[in-house]
Symmetry: C2
Subunit: 218 residues, 2 copies
């Protein structure tokens, strides 16, 4: 789906003879993307170099540029690539909407604590993305908007409240914030935080808080 666009666009195919990328290309691109994941995770986008990435897949930095055109486009391709991978995995399990999504988020927190590499890359790039004119800014802004929407709907579902209720939207923001913030704390000290337990606790607390009626008695 998101393939055609991310190719560097064939030089200038006047009367094109052969212009489909070779079979090896897809594999190679994936290798580069994987290497970029690690490098950007370990050193950040600004500080990680094309050389680092190239070394990891055994070619020159110019070779990497051949595939992605520029460092910035490589980053964008990387973000889409991971997003696709996540979505694929998500649909593999089951596509949870509504209240069950909240349980799924708890599971996600647990799974994340088994793959520090990906979590680190995500955290590092997210942090960098709030710098001025960072190429990943729009990606993350859009991602949060979408996530907030999905989770707002789930919270509304679980609490019998309206999706327009500011408290419901707020709870959705809180859930996302908790998960992201926990990842940072966890990366800095893995023994200090039990991500699954804390996400679970927070979601339960928020849902209960928004389902107040029962406590009018006392």
């Amino acid at each position: 789906m998101s393939d055609e666009q991310t190719w560097p666009a064939p030089p200038a195919s006047g009367a094109g003879r052969a212009q489909r990328p070779q079979k090896r290309s897809g594999r190679r691109r994936a290798e580069i993307l994987d290497a970029a994941m690690t490098v950007f995770g370990e050193r950040g986008y600004a500080n990680g170099s094309l050389q680092d990435i190239a070394d990891r897949v055994g070619m020159t930095h110019a070779g990497v540029l051949h595939h992605f055109g520029s460092k910035e486009q490589l980053l964008i391709a990387l973000l889409e690539y991971r997003d696709d991978a996540d979505v694929a995995e998500l649909e593999g399990h089951h596509a949870p909407r509504g209240a069950p999504l909240l349980e799924h988020l708890v599971d996600t927190a647990e799974e994340n604590s088994k793959r520090p590499g990906i979590v680190q890359t995500y955290t590092v790039l997210l942090g960098e993305s709030v710098t001025d004119k960072h190429p990943a800014r729009n990606f993350f802004a859009g991602r949060f908007a979408g996530l907030r929407d999905m989770i707002t709907s789930a919270v509304a579902d679980a609490t019998d409240r309206s999706m327009d209720d500011p408290e419901v939207i707020g709870a959705a923001s809180a859930v996302i914030a908790t998960m992201d913030g926990l990842q940072t704390q966890w990366l800095l000290d893995k023994d200090a935080v039990d991500m699954r337990a804390v996400v679970d606790l927070t979601i339960r607390a928020l849902v209960r808080e928004l389902t107040k009626p029962a406590d009018v008695i006392a």
Copy 2:
């Protein structure tokens, strides 16, 4: 307090005694640190250069190095500097311990939404800090440990629970995580998040969740 250490250490004068800096020096150092705050906030530590910082205070990058010895030491001085400033401000208001600290955190969230610059610097550096061997790693790890301790105590106080209770510690982690995560979302889209309201909601929800007894009735 944290002054002696952060000076570049006398060039190499055998047994370095405390050589007093000129009066102007303290002011200049503060100017440099302020400039570094903005530059690192706008471009990140890895991507922000000494040149950028020097331009801002009207001198050459070598002048900056004269004061701080290296870029890394400048960053460390910056972190201590801001920490001191925060503590000073905090003590100016009042030093809140125990349950009232939780209310104070809500106020802090509100105040932060009036100073995006500082929030951005904090968020960017925090994100970068989880990269391998980043100079700010220890600082943030220590900061979280301390924060977690303070807030754990506050939550224990507010809920009549033990400080050793994993749920109490978890709630403390969650509060910190929420605040940090919200800042990121807010920086990416200031209209999408009301930091004060969401922090307030989350803290109330967590405190109520840990003060369960009343709901056995229903």
